[in-house]
Symmetry: C2
Subunit: 296 residues, 2 copies
């Protein structure tokens, strides 16, 4: 059993309730500094999906909508699953992660069956062009970045995942953002574990926020994220391409595609997030402005 | 008061409950033929948003996730609104449209404030390139297409909206689909009414399904749709550009951008839907296959 599987495990309590223990190995540093440990949202989403799939008649989370309400703490929690519809092709459940009696992560999940092998299917099959990914050996390894260490000094989320970025989009690391809100790269666990729906739930938000490319490199909390599972991934590293379409009023969107090692589109996501507190802001005309606090 | 405003009105019943009367003027023909009248999903979504915004401290539905569970009937219904969080920057509610005691449309809505005037904002502002739209006079008017007439013969949804399509994407009307799952065009009410959040909720799914471009021209029910309001639209027709990234296993995604008459990106959506029953199917290599039933 891998760290990821242990950290996202759920224990049934009956009546659609599940006990979960957010795991320090997937901790991140919450706003407020190192004194507050939070938990990576993707790992929590995977946890919630485990609870949903535990009682689902269909095998795959084809559509997951998640609204992130409060900062998840490194403390015991419960997932409450309520089925709204059991259908032949699709079923839908609400699932909420609750801590201290308050909803922290509220999701609606529609389950169904996605293609295991499009080539052999009798159904209509079509895919848009695949983004270009650089060779893995040409990418920049993000390493174990300090923003994701747990409060007690143990390595958190960044020690669990390997993120290799297209070097064209990493200028923000040296204070020279590209001016383009895009990220592209490879994502996998450092442990040897094949991708599946749960890992996809983490990969769809696995790269640094796209607005880092505009110099806004601070905490950029996800407010809402919806992702679709489109195919069962083959073993191997995942390729993630993320872009933004619009930033204003303190909000930005980020849409990501995840392609598997065989070159299939396996997941899509879009999120709405708050622009982080960054050292540099870029105006519409490309000029830089003084820094200010934009976070919520 | 316009037909649209009348058809999407809500009457408070107290305790977060609202009475609604789905309106024959926004009826569509449900699967099963003309004997069954359903209601346009966008009009229902606008109705649900009215109930949410009635008790929201924030003015705009910045993120709306909707799972379509059952075919909405032309019969009285209730919307139940439950607030999960009231925040300074954003608040989140669940809102469910219920008919005959069963959830028909389940949504989660995060409200906040979007930019009214990006140019005057001190915040980071950035927008990706705008898709090219043909001039309105060069577009193909979809007219009052028969698939949206109500059961009793009165004109339904199609009589309320004007859809003008880029002629490059309308070959499916003559049995000669372009082979590309894209749609682009203009969307407005036939009545004189300025766009707002409620009209955007209808516009984000206002064009024919993108898979019509692959020859799958049947009933293509939306299973999940999430849309983000990005700015307050100015008066004038809306421009909608929709595309697909992947079709397999009977599922397709459709992502739409809505731009206002001043050229601002005002809304984004992505939906997961079922491939409709169409007369022609196109294989990955572009060849045509015999027809088959793919609907749910």
């Amino acid at each position: 059993m891998t760290s990821f599987d242990e950290a996202t495990a759920v224990t049934p309590l009956g009546d659609g309730r599940y006990h979960v223990e957010p795991d320090a190995r997937f901790a991140i540093v919450a706003p407020g500094g190192t004194a507050t440990a939070a938990v990576n949202g993707g790992a929590l989403l995977a946890t919630v999906l485990r609870a949903v799939l535990d009682s689902s008649a269909h095998p795959h989370p084809v559509a997951t909508s998640a609204h992130f309400l409060r900062v998840p703490k490194l403390a015991p929690a419960e997932v409450e699953v309520t089925w709204l519809k059991h259908g032949r092709t699709a079923s839908t459940a609400r699932a909420t992660l609750v801590q201290d009696g308050q909803p922290v992560l509220d999701t609606t999940v529609t389950t169904g069956t996605v293609s295991e092998d499009a080539a052999g299917s009798e159904l209509l099959s079509w895919t848009g062009p695949r983004p270009a990914f650089p060779a893995m050996e040409d990418c920049v390894d993000l390493g174990k970045w300090p923003g994701t260490m747990a409060a007690d000094g143990t390595a958190g989320y960044a020690a669990q995942v390997e993120v290799l970025l297209d070097p064209g989009g990493t200028g923000w690391r040296d204070g020279a953002p590209s001016g383009v809100p895009e990220m592209r790269g490879y994502f996998r666990l450092r442990e040897d574990r094949d991708p599946d729906a749960y890992l996809l739930a983490m990969a769809v938000d696995g790269l640094p926020p796209v607005v880092f490319g505009l110099g806004a490199t601070g905490w950029a909390p996800t407010v809402e994220l919806t992702w679709h599972m489109r195919a069962v991934p083959v073993p191997g590293p995942l390729q993630v391409a993320a872009r933004c379409r619009h930033v204003s009023g303190g909000w930005f969107d980020e849409e990501a595609e995840v392609w598997d090692a065989s070159g299939r589109l396996v997941a899509q996501s879009r999120q709405l997030a708050r622009v982080g507190r960054g050292p540099v802001r870029v105006a519409a005309d490309g000029s830089e402005k003084a820094s200010s606090v934009v976070g919520r």
